[in-house]
Symmetry: C2
Subunit: 598 residues, 2 copies
């Protein structure tokens, strides 16, 4: 079986494109060194390989089901959770005093990447738990952290986020789950939540749900939404697990893929009272939830990248080994068959995958490094970098979700009929990844977020910061050998994006919000490709600088990077123009379409 | 459950875009009338709805498996086969003296479209049978037709095509299955065939395999390949079914989708002799096989269209019924939720689907009408139209295969999380259709066929005929209301294609075959979108002409057609330029990429 990621590429991304080692000069990371990070990554690879990759297909073929009222998973999932816990990954980025290693977020994300690539379904449980704990760390009271967060850091309890409801879906403004304050200051929670991943299982002693609900009498819309900690089992004063909190499994969703992660319909307050604690302030639940949500969006993007990455590795191995056909120029039918990697169209399919998944990995790690810079970097840059991260988040979430799907389709195509069978894992990755453009905010929501909020936020400062950073990298690449195509193509794409944003923004008032947003998807496509083009410039520069002194495999590696950057420049970036033109024209085709005309 | 196709659209395509009724003036079809065709289509709808749509999901959940050495399918498949047979569809396009109705091929294809939309898996068995019989009709001796073809027309026996082998896949030049002539003039067949759809089952009294093999001593490569009729059971002199012919099931393939169609690995000559009859001439097997293959390629394209169509219908129904969210301009959180079809991005997802599936349907039916024109049209046009059909075949096969997948992805997206579950059929269609870019010649093969053979065939006459036809339609659309966008966009796309083909063809010798073909996929993309743009011009013209006198639902229907044409013009045709530029530049990125650099 092919490896699920390239260790060499991860090293390149962390140490040659990003300067992750330089983080060790910051006060929070002074105990660290490159060796520490490499040891952590090696541990992640080994645990992911041994305890996660071993049951990916098994979990796909045996989706969670209910036996005697309990959700049954394949047994290997529990072993994987134990191994993840024993390795200390639940708390690795937290303070030492909380049992953590104070790992930078970019290293933590690189750790998680291994588990996403090895087994997306099983990695869902710890990642939701980590996100839940991070939210509690930000908004919980010391008592709440002690009671509900520490067991998550120890990997004894797991966590979820419970936002959606059957009647509301993505429309969080319309949720109806209610919270009624009791005499003891806590709340009685009542309602139904839909699409709750990890909502019920027997993997952990308890499950801590973070639940959006309306306090009785709160105003309609998002301003009336608060956030609550709702455990599956009530927690005794000594921290031990008590009786049922009446969170009842009402059904499991049967999905096309991503089957390893249980997805549930939950009733709160069925057959008895469900108690919950308010976390953060009343009426500010959505804003608190977005702390976890924004992190989850980067996580979804990285998960998409890694599914695509695993598919790329599998198709690459196949293409090197499988012999079939001859070059078009070969006239001798008795000549030997060539490896299919020799065929130009197979090279196209592989280069396209490489440009998507390595470009996506660069983007996800870059965004993660911004999280570190905002937390531990130079104070005078934090505001700008926060705006930049806000701007990039819809792209980090949606671009890999979409383009890993194309990448996985290309991976299937490399294998032909074999890729369509369950004898290879790629068809599973393809099914798994199709969820990513849907959950944690659909592609439509990401487009509206980008064009409707992020581009205009702080008078467009986020976009200005992005352009400053891209321009600096363009400047730094002047005259470098082998980067001309990506340089020129990126420069063109930046101009096209700039012109399109200027055109649409200047007409925003005249168009009104509905028509202004009608082509938000094109904004997402246009800026997404441009940003990934920038990620390829950064990789090309690193490769070009290293190439002259590189030898053997390293030389091949850097040439591959330059060729993939050229591919993205020549095959992908020219697609920006059509989207930019459409956005700039404020085209009204969809806006004017009537339901009756379909 | 949503209908699987739009009867109104099918009528529009057949009678308003194509002039199918005019076929009745041709000698072969004088007994026909529009009423005859409409009755046949109504019958197809009813049989497809009652006997095929009823078990699509059941067959997906219970894929073919082996019990006591026999392939077991869900029982409803047999009932579907019987209903298809009782309706007379196995022979409906054949001569009356063979029990047929002499239906035009375009009507036959419209009949088949119902079954493809209702149940792709089960429709595979009759369609392979029909294709097999058509090949025998063209190349079989009268004795072979009596013995092997008539039982297929009667729906008593089924047929397959057996080309691929495990070691050769798409590389047919390297097949090794052997044929040794016996004293009686027949052949002993020995070897293994892979990916054989419908290769083994108990649905019919016998299975007639059409098998590519090499006669002992034949030259290497495609010139040494001959075609053989190989029945599952030997056929007695009186036409009854005799003993086993030793075609042994070696395994079933377990696929991501398309599960209703058994897909097999078959050993010929295992445990006893397998006998076969040569059909067509020795050494001309591949050319004969391509008779069936070209028909199958149009069939695959139409199948892809209809899967996309069924998904579009399902997502459209959902979008009309599901209420969620409000317009961006709506500020009142207490206001009612709107149907999601009101949201611009959902309209985009639906319009995109509409433009892909209705454009694809127009293309598939147009290609089918060319089959009729070549067979029964004016003699002086037949040579040109044959070249046109040859040119279009790779596009008719591959464009819907690719764009129905995008369409089905959009359909999933309309439903959000629900679309990702097995509660709706769309995720199944999405899995089913992913086979279409692979079988009957991968997308890579179609690209090479287009740029390497079809574009240059007969000194480029096929391309010239295409341009003549498109130009005539452009001329006919001058000054018509509501068609300006599609007219202008098509004109631009035609120029871009023309310039790109001219540029690459003028350098063909200099580039050599490998580099010349390196960007064949861009040729396929560029010409595919342009041809579908043409199909949208034709639909827009028909709609614009009918709109002035239309009322009620018809008025809505025609406005929808014009809006979808506009969508394709504004959102899709601008994508032609990037592909045309790439092709024209003879870009060497993939050509120069080395295997070691990955």
């Amino acid at each position: 079986m092919a490896p699920f990621l390239s260790k060499r590429d991860l090293q390149f991304q962390l140490y040659e494109v990003l300067d992750t080692e330089s983080l060790t000069s910051r006060p929070r990371f002074t105990d660290h060194s490159r060796e520490v990070y490499d040891d952590v990554l090696a541990l992640a690879y080994n645990v992911a390989d041994k305890y996660f990759a071993n049951h990916t297909r098994e979990a796909d073929l045996n989706e969670p089901h209910v036996v005697d009222g309990k959700v049954k998973l394949v047994p290997a999932v529990q072993a994987a959770m134990n191994a993840f816990r024993d390795a200390g990954f639940f708390s690795a980025h937290h303070d030492e005093e909380l049992g953590g290693l104070q790992l930078p977020w970019v290293v933590m994300q690189a750790v998680q990447a291994h588990f996403q690539a090895a087994n997306m379904g099983s990695s869902g449980y710890p990642f939701l738990t980590i996100g839940n704990a991070n939210l509690q760390r930000e908004f919980g009271t010391p008592e709440q952290q002690l009671k509900y967060m520490l067991p998550l850091l120890e990997g004894r309890w797991f966590g979820t986020m419970a936002l959606s409801e059957p009647q509301a879906g993505s429309g969080l403004a319309d949720i109806t789950t209610s919270a009624t304050q009791r005499d003891d200051g806590k709340y009685t929670i009542s309602g139904t939540k839909m699409w709750i991943s990890g909502g019920e299982h027997e993997l952990s002693e308890n499950i801590v749900h973070l639940v959006l609900a309306r306090i009785k009498g709160a105003p309609a819309g998002v301003k009336g939404i608060s956030l609550f900690i709702v455990p599956r089992y009530r927690v005794n004063d000594d921290g031990t697990v008590g009786e049922s909190n009446n969170v009842v499994l009402a059904g499991l969703n049967h999905k096309m893929g991503y089957r390893g992660t249980t997805n549930t319909l939950l009733n709160f307050g069925e057959g008895g009272e469900t108690g919950g604690e308010l976390i953060s302030e009343a009426g500010k639940g959505l804003s608190a939830m977005f702390h976890m949500m924004n992190e989850a969006r980067i996580g979804v993007g990285m998960g998409a990248v890694m599914l695509g990455y695993a598919g790329y590795m599998a198709s690459l191995e196949y293409a090197k080994e499988r012999k079939q056909g001859r070059h078009a120029s070969s006239k001798d039918p008795n000549g030997p068959m060539v490896s299919i990697i020799e065929h130009a169209d197979v090279k196209r399919l592989l280069l396209r995958q490489k440009s998507f998944v390595e470009g996506g990995l660069a983007l996800g790690l870059y965004a993660s490094s911004l999280v570190d810079d905002i937390a531990t970097g130079m104070d005078d840059q934090k505001a700008d970098l926060s705006l930049l991260l806000d701007l990039l988040t819809p792209i980090v979430k949606s671009w890999p979700s979409k383009y890993s799907q194309e990448s996985l389709s290309d991976a299937i195509q490399v294998l032909g009929g074999a890729g369509y069978t369950r004898d290879y894992p790629i068809e599973m990755y393809y099914r798994d990844n199709r969820l990513n453009p849907i959950h944690e905010g659909t592609e439509g929501i990401q487009g509206n977020d980008l064009l409707g909020r992020k581009v205009t936020q702080a008078n467009g400062r986020g976009l200005a910061v992005l352009v400053e950073h891209m321009t600096a990298d363009l400047k730094g690449s002047e005259g470098l050998d082998g980067v001309a195509e990506i340089r020129n193509a990126l420069q063109t794409a930046i101009s096209q994006c700039g012109a399109a944003f200027k055109a649409i923004l200047s007409r925003a008032a005249e168009l009104g919000p509905d028509l202004y947003l009608a082509n938000a998807n094109s904004a997402l496509e246009m800026l997404g490709h441009t940003v990934v083009g920038w990620m390829w410039l950064r990789q090309a520069v690193a490769a070009a600088n290293a190439l002259s002194s590189a030898k053997g495999d390293d030389q091949h590696f850097y040439r591959g990077k330059l060729q993939a950057a050229r591919f993205f420049a020549v095959y992908e970036l020219p697609k920006v123009k059509a989207h930019a033109d459409l956005l700039a024209s404020a085209d009204a085709t969809t806006f004017e379409m009537q339901g009756d005309w379909f």
